[in-house]
């Protein structure tokens, strides 16, 4: 049994055997929280902070956040930057290409609500107008520590997910923030 599993309180080993017992919710949520693979995808200046978060100083990979170059392998999408109306259909498209369960972190004021471009003719007033958002992260731009806090919040949210609710996957909701548990 590896160190990681030994340290988990909710897993019990049977005496003398190589068998471990745990609830399926716990095991599935543990694996999901420990390998949140984001899509390599940035829209504006927030993407610079996101790249810094992936690099060695902040090193998100120690939390299992490991950027993937294709939506087919990604679990979470950091919407890092201003969502222009011209960019909205591609975002919906790559969101649909991500496999379930999928999560969205709206990073920065622009992705939350349009930010300083609220009165613009060309900016979507928040990415939650087009795809469901799990964590809203304010800031202009948020520092990598703030993005780490958003990832931790998302992990807390995932830990409350239950298999019996909609098979553990994200419920298909069209708009607004989602309630997963």
């Amino acid at each position: 049994m590896g160190i990681a599993l030994d340290n988990l309180s909710k897993i019990e080993s049977l005496p003398g055997g190589g068998v471990a017992l745990a609830t399926s919710d716990f095991l599935i949520n543990w694996s999901r929280t420990s390998s949140l693979w984001p899509l390599t995808f940035g829209l504006a200046c927030c993407a610079i902070e996101m790249m810094a978060a992936y690099a060695s100083r902040f090193d998100f990979e120690r939390m299992g956040v490991f950027p993937r170059p294709t939506p087919r392998q990604a679990d979470v999408m950091f919407v890092a930057g201003t969502v222009a109306k011209k960019m909205a259909p591609p975002i919906i498209r790559i969101y649909k290409q991500m496999p379930e369960p999928k999560f969205v972190i709206a990073m920065g004021g622009c992705a939350n609500c349009g930010g300083p471009f609220y009165d613009s003719y060309s900016v979507v007033k928040g990415v939650d107008k087009i795809i469901p958002v799990d964590v809203y992260l304010p800031g202009c731009p948020p520092r990598p520590e703030a993005l780490m806090y958003a990832v931790i919040k998302l992990q807390e949210k995932i830990r409350k997910m239950k298999v019996k609710n909609n098979f553990g996957a994200t419920p298909f909701q069209n708009t607004g923030a989602r309630k997963l548990s």
Partner: protein, 164 residues
């Protein structure tokens, strides 16, 4: 050859070409009749090795509405601004021309004279609604196809869409 010498040579064949009262930054600024902007640019390119178009942009002067300070007062025009360079000599020349603000606004395209004119003219068309005659693919380039109106016009009124 300096900009002054080029101006004297060109003015012989284009009497409408005059020096503008206002200089844009420190560039030699000439006012060109809108209908001859393409031929002036062709001349500059072939005869004076002006081989680079820095940018095309436009200014909306919406008549008396909100413009009380001269020289803008009462001008009801679109002003097109072209900046062209001769990369070999480093001379830059700014061309301005005015067209009527009445719909539809037309000006000859520089497509085929300068490579850069293609997308630049599409951008000006997208944001100001100025039609460039002779451009083979004049459609919106920056805003989505669902965009109504031309956003950088002074009288643009935004109609909320599904993303607002």
């Amino acid at each position: 050859m300096t900009a002054e010498e080029i101006f004297i040579k060109l003015q012989a064949s284009f009497p409408g070409l005059v020096k503008s009262e206002e200089r844009i930054k420190d560039y030699p600024t000439w006012t060109v009749p809108a209908q001859s902007v393409r031929t002036v640019c062709e001349q500059l390119r072939s005869g004076f090795s002006f081989n680079y178009l820095d940018f095309i942009t436009a200014v909306d002067w919406p008549g008396s509405v909100g413009n009380t300070v001269p020289p803008a007062a009462g001008r009801d025009v679109f002003e097109l601004v072209y900046l062209i360079s001769a990369l070999s000599t480093g001379v830059k020349i700014c061309l301005r021309c005015e067209i009527s603000r009445k719909e539809p606004a037309f000006i000859p395209s520089l497509y085929g004279v300068f490579m850069a004119a293609d997308w630049q003219e599409r951008e000006v068309y997208d944001l100001f609604g100025i039609h460039f005659e002779g451009h083979p693919n004049l459609k919106r380039i920056l805003t989505p196809e669902t965009q109504l109106g031309y956003p950088l016009r002074k009288d643009y009124a935004h109609v909320p869409d599904s993303y607002d």
